[in-house]
């Protein structure tokens, strides 16, 4: 399945790269071209996510799971691919759910700019690791090494860091729930002063 995975990954890479570029461009600009990019953003993300899912499944079939997970490159590639898939799926959900309001105000735009940039970085890391596995290493791994990520060593968080991540997840859930409850609570007394 190796060659088919290599063929198939072109599609999510292409569509997600365009999507990340469109997000970055739109978060920085209100010009007609940026708006035009935004109009095709959901389509790009849907096609990218669908093709990414197929490429991910094909990637899991290149080698048996134990073999894939036998090398740090395989483990790191699988991890970054999983994160990329969920990341762009989540961005698709955000853009679909929140609509064009994601571009309202500087805070929303900064968040989208960060998401677009993070998606591009995640995609670059995933592609670099895939290239290493495929026998075509890129210099990007040298850049990653400068920030402490050695692609030839398994990336994992220590237990204390996992605890911090768990706390962050709980805090995010609480924040999201509070944001949901506030309008609901205010709707119990609609225009109470009048």
């Amino acid at each position: 399945m190796g060659p088919y995975h290599a063929i198939m990954v072109h599609f999510p890479v292409a569509f997600w790269t365009v999507a990340a570029g469109a997000i970055i461009f739109r978060s920085l600009s209100d010009r007609p071209l940026a708006r035009a990019f935004d109009r095709v953003l959901i389509a790009c993300l849907v096609v990218g996510e669908s093709a990414g899912l197929v490429a991910y499944v094909l990637g899991q079939l290149v080698w048996p799971p134990d073999t894939l997970q036998a090398t740090p490159l395989g483990r790191n590639h699988m991890m970054s691919a999983t994160w990329s898939l969920f990341f762009f799926g989540s961005v698709l959900f955000l853009r679909w759910r929140a609509g064009e309001e994601v571009w309202d105000g500087p805070v929303n735009r900064v968040i989208m700019l960060l998401l677009g940039s993070l998606g591009a970085v995640l995609l670059a890391i995933t592609g670099t690791l895939g290239g290493h596995l495929h026998g075509a290493p890129a210099r990007l791994s040298d850049l990653l090494k400068m920030i402490g990520l050695n692609v030839y060593e398994t990336f994992y968080l220590p237990t204390w860091m996992l605890v911090v991540v768990a706390v962050v997840i709980m805090a995010l859930l609480a924040l999201g729930t509070a944001a949901t409850r506030r309008p609901a609570a205010s709707m119990q007394h609609p225009e109470g002063g009048t």
């Binding site: 991890m79 309202d104 996992l162 991540v165």
Partner: protein
């Protein structure tokens, strides 16, 4: 074997934790944006 069982568990936990952080972060952002809109 370099990839000992405890490291394998740690790696899986990191993978899952990353997914959960991504999903909860974007979910929360979508809630905040819609909440502010309401």
């Amino acid at each position: 074997m370099e990839f000992a069982r405890d490291i394998r568990l740690q790696w899986w936990l990191t993978l899952v934790a990353g997914v959960l952080v991504i999903v909860t972060f974007v979910f929360t952002v979508s809630r905040l944006i819609r909440g502010r809109e309401d």
